[in-house]
């Protein structure tokens, strides 16, 4: 069974309960910030801050709106971090769809940061390891909701079976359309095989307004590196080694006695 989070942005009031619940449950170190000219807690996610509400003031057709949405690891079906990770066992896709970081195995290379199309993982300067939302895998393992979901006061966040949440999201989208939000839709980008964090957006054609990338995919350079390049490298390595070996077998070493001299410099002259 694949589990997922559903974020109904139409019900987000930016209360930041999810931010704190995440911090508290995961025993994060709290850091005081400098004023950033915004209600947003931090400009972006940090190694000890895995769950950020993004605030965006939008003015459209003379009407002001204030869009808020929760940002965290998307737990992609086709995870860019996992694709990029060189350390076996450091990024583990759990059977329930959670992409979990196992810090014992993390080597801190930071490739996951580059691999992630959502720019989520962060390196901790002290431990030199990468961190992000674990979907509270310790809680979900014993039948508890992730901390952020449990604390959410407004039903903006729901946790459950992915298929069911998708159905809920569709129902909700239908309601919004009926209420006149023609552009309402679900954010479940297929470029990463779909995400286990689903969003209901009023303006689904412009996810950027909510701070979400429009068409996220695993970067082609990562795919190149993990795909064709691996074959090419292997081929070249063995090609060279075998080439050299058979060269030796066929031609043997260079022997001045047998192989004659190159055009000699005319030392006779």
């Amino acid at each position: 069974m694949i589990v997922a989070k559903l974020i109904d942005t139409t019900l987000c009031i930016g209360c930041k309960a999810c931010e704190v619940a995440c911090q508290e449950w995961n025993d994060q170190e709290y850091t005081m910030g400098t004023f950033d000219g915004s209600y947003q807690t931090k400009p972006e996610l940090e190694a000890n801050f895995w769950n950020l509400i993004k605030f965006n003031e939008v003015e459209k057709d003379g009407a002001t709106s204030w869009l808020m949405s929760k940002y965290q690891c998307m737990h992609c079906a086709d995870a860019g971090c996992l694709a990029a990770c060189p350390a076996p066992g450091a990024i583990v896709p759990l059977a329930n769809g959670t992409i979990d970081f196992v810090h014992e195995n993390c080597i801190g290379c930071g490739y996951c940061i580059t691999g992630c199309p959502f720019d989520v993982p962060r390196l901790n300067a002290t431990t030199k390891k990468a961190y992000k939302c674990t979907l509270c895998s310790d809680r979900t393992a014993v039948g508890l909701e992730p901390a952020c979901i449990k604390t959410c006061p407004t039903n903006c966040l729901t946790f459950g079976e992915r298929d069911e949440l998708l159905r809920m999201a569709e129902t909700r989208t239908g309601e919004l359309k009926a209420d006149g939000f023609a552009d309402a839709g679900i954010y479940n980008p297929q470029g990463v095989g779909g995400t286990n964090v689903l969003y209901v957006l009023k303006h689904a054609s412009e996810p950027e307004q909510y701070g979400l990338p429009k068409d996220p995919v695993i970067p082609w350079t990562v795919s190149l590196w993990k795909g064709p390049m691996k074959w090419m490298g292997t081929l070249m390595f063995w090609g060279t080694v075998l080439g050299a070996f058979f060269h030796f077998v066929i031609y043997g070493p260079q022997d001045p006695e047998k192989h004659g001299h190159p055009e000699e410099p005319s030392d006779k002259s």
Binding site: A17, N96, D138, A141, G143, P153
Partner: protein
């Protein structure tokens, strides 16, 4: 900034260690996680029902403590979470409520009586045994000085106007009731709480 006192850190760690054995007994109803994730920090805690002390929505919370109150053990809080039984919050909490653990265990909590003498530039630590009679003396002297048994017209008024008392909105009904008794015992009229502000 160091987050926790060393004692708390110690207790937390030991709680984690202690819970390892118990984890196998936990059934896994929904998760189907293949790998064994970190041990639940609330696995072996004592749960106490309480109410959030911030705004007046009145959210119920569950306080998770470790330590069995035996001779050398003072329980300490590892986590505070919304109480799912409450029809008000159904387990949810806002950002303030979700971090109540930080409030109870803030390193800015007062743990000793502090006294500032007249004209002094600093706090000095004081014991309750020393502070209590000093405060009582102040209260009595002020009352003796300011108490009006009768007003100018000779009517009994039993009023005390030179001592004021404020507060109570952060505390329980019962303490507010005790404050009212204290206040009327002295005859105080200047008595307010946050409801005025």
């Amino acid at each position: 900034m160091p987050k926790e006192s060393s004692r708390r850190e110690f207790l937390k760690r030991s709680a984690k260690g202690a819970a390892v054995g118990g984890a196998t007994a936990v059934t896994v109803p929904t998760a189907a996680a293949e790998n064994s994730p970190a041990t639940l920090k609330t696995a072996n805690t004592t749960k106490t029902n309480s109410i959030c002390p911030y705004c007046a929505v009145g959210c119920s919370v569950v306080v998770h403590t470790i330590g069995d109150k035996s001779r050398n053990v003072k329980p300490s809080i590892v986590h505070i979470e919304g109480d799912p039984d409450s029809p008000i919050n159904r387990g949810t909490l806002c950002s303030k409520g979700a971090s109540l653990e930080e409030f109870v265990q803030s390193d800015r909590r007062l743990t000793t009586v502090q006294h500032r003498a007249a004209g002094s530039r600093e706090w000095k630590r004081m014991s309750w045994a020393e502070a209590m009679p000093k405060m009582a003396r102040f209260i009595k002297d002020s009352r003796d000085k300011g108490f009006e048994a009768e007003d100018a017209k000779g009517r009994t008024v039993n009023c005390l106007k030179n001592i004021a008392m404020i507060g109570g909105c952060t505390d329980t009904n019962e303490i507010n009731y005790l404050l009212s008794k204290f206040r009327f015992g002295l005859g105080m009229v200047a008595y307010e709480n946050q409801s005025r502000l």
